[in-house]
């Protein structure tokens, strides 16, 4: 994909992403049977590594450099750019996604380790008709962001925080959301948003 980067004069981030998606789709459409043996990369570590994962309820078969993190796989191979790269070292939480329903840092997860896993990103939270997840709606209602860069990670972390039962009080929310930094310091509004969404999520 990167090798196509000099293919035209009007190269932009947007059409780079579009190309990425298109080439990923062609890989996805190949219908190989799932690997039966434990996966192992070939003798030459520079050969592409193939992984089958489910992302936002859709199956993907992806081939990538074995060094690729889940975050880079999502953003640059699948075209799901909602997950953000903040520090890329597990210190900010902007890359938070759900793997098998548990919140993890996609920047410190090798994509090669996600074989057979179910991944949920910010793009997979709303319903098919566009109705927002209660947590997304609560972040809007409470103005729980300024620049919005940390928001996808905040929202996925917040959904998990409620699901884990760690949103029973303001101190609990603050403690269990401490892995998501917000340099705009929208923290009070984030806490309020989680308080609202928690009630709706329990009612759902």
């Amino acid at each position: 994909m990167v090798s196509q980067a000099n293919s035209g004069p009007q190269w932009s981030r947007r059409n780079f992403l579009a190309t990425s998606v298109a080439s990923t789709m062609s890989v996805t459409l190949l219908d190989y049977p799932p690997a039966t043996a434990a996966p192992s990369s070939s003798a030459d570590p520079r050969d592409p590594f193939v992984t089958n994962t489910t992302i936002n309820e859709r199956h993907y078969r992806l081939a990538f450099d074995v060094r690729t993190t889940l975050l880079d796989a999502l953003r640059e191979h699948v075209g799901l750019t909602g997950s953000k790269k903040g520090c890329d070292h597990g210190q900010c939480g902007a890359c938070t996604v759900l793997v098998d329903g548990r919140r993890v840092l996609s920047c410190l997860t090798l994509a090669a380790s996600t074989e057979g896993k179910n991944i949920t990103t910010i793009e997979g939270l709303a319903q098919a008709d566009g109705t927002l997840h209660p947590m997304q709606q609560a972040f809007i209602d409470h103005d729980a962001f300024q620049c919005g860069y940390c928001t996808p990670g905040q929202i996925l972390s917040a959904v998990a925080c409620v699901d884990e039962g760690h949103a029973d009080s303001e101190p609990a929310i603050r403690e269990y959301m401490s892995g998501n930094l917000c340099r705009c310091a929208a923290y009070p509004n984030i806490v309020d948003a989680i308080g609202q969404a928690k009630i709706k999520m329990k009612g759902a």
């Binding site: 570590p45 939480g93 919140r103 090798l110 998501n180």
Partner: protein, 342 residues
Amino acid sequence: MQPFQFSRTADAKSAVLMHGSGRKDASSDPANASAQYLAGGTTLLDLMKLGVTRPGQVIDINDLGHTKAGTIEFAADGLRLGAMSRMSAAAEHPDIRRNFPVVSQSLQLAASAQIRNMASLGGNVLQRTRCSYFRDVSYENCNKRRPGSGCAALDGVNRSHAVLGTSDQCIATYPGDFAQALIALDARIEVLGRKGTREFPFARLHRQPGEAPHLETTLAPEEMIVAFYIPKGPYARRSLFLKVRDRESYEFALASAAVGLDLDGDSVRQARIALGGVATVPWRAHKAEQILAGKHLNEAILNTAAEVAFEDALPRSHNAFKVELGKRTLIRALRETAAMEI
């Protein structure tokens, strides 16, 4: 990040046999070996991105989490923690909270919810120091990263560095919390290597820097931690972890204390004390424990214990505050432990 050969297995013995794949490992130090086990990845991936760790082979052992290595079990004589259990599972286990509060708290106060979901217990005790001269490869002088190259921290910015267990080769702080709980409660570990399993006191896992700061543990390169055993003891239930840091959550300790007390009324039958954030390895304060044994816990004896715990401290230019902070952290932890209602 340099390319590596990636494989994945759900069998611990296969992982050990794969490790190195017959190649002679240039390094005798498992932390710098060319083959690395990948569990949560929260240390390994970070250090690989920084270029500090450059494995040619990565063996993903996360599937061991579905085996006995991923379970938490209680027996009559204590607790067995499978090394592939995640930090969050052990931190929030109701029986561990009740019967081994220092273990639960040491994990709960560490990292973030995301990292606790990822990181394994085995990987947790093997996490590498946060010394910025170790983590930043643009510094040439780091005896841990490049044996014999010197130590930039000795006369550098060393506010977060250790005051106990240091040498003139390295003053890097052991960063973890869980290890202090383990060492205070006389835990044992089981490791699997080419010659089978062996079990030994957790206190013998970490090595002080001495003349060889790059040798951090007593493990052979292919040896994998399989489990931790924590014996029941009268001090296990009356125990706590106190952590003092620059921000209230999601931060490494400047000073911490893992404390357990067995009380007879107001007097101490036995004390268990480990100190974190101030030492190069998980630090057991045996002498301070002996000071407290058989004594009433009053102001004078608490002060004496704290003085003794830090009598060998060697502060550098920016971390002298840790001596006083460490003493006060220990005294407060002992007071709060004595006041626990159990």
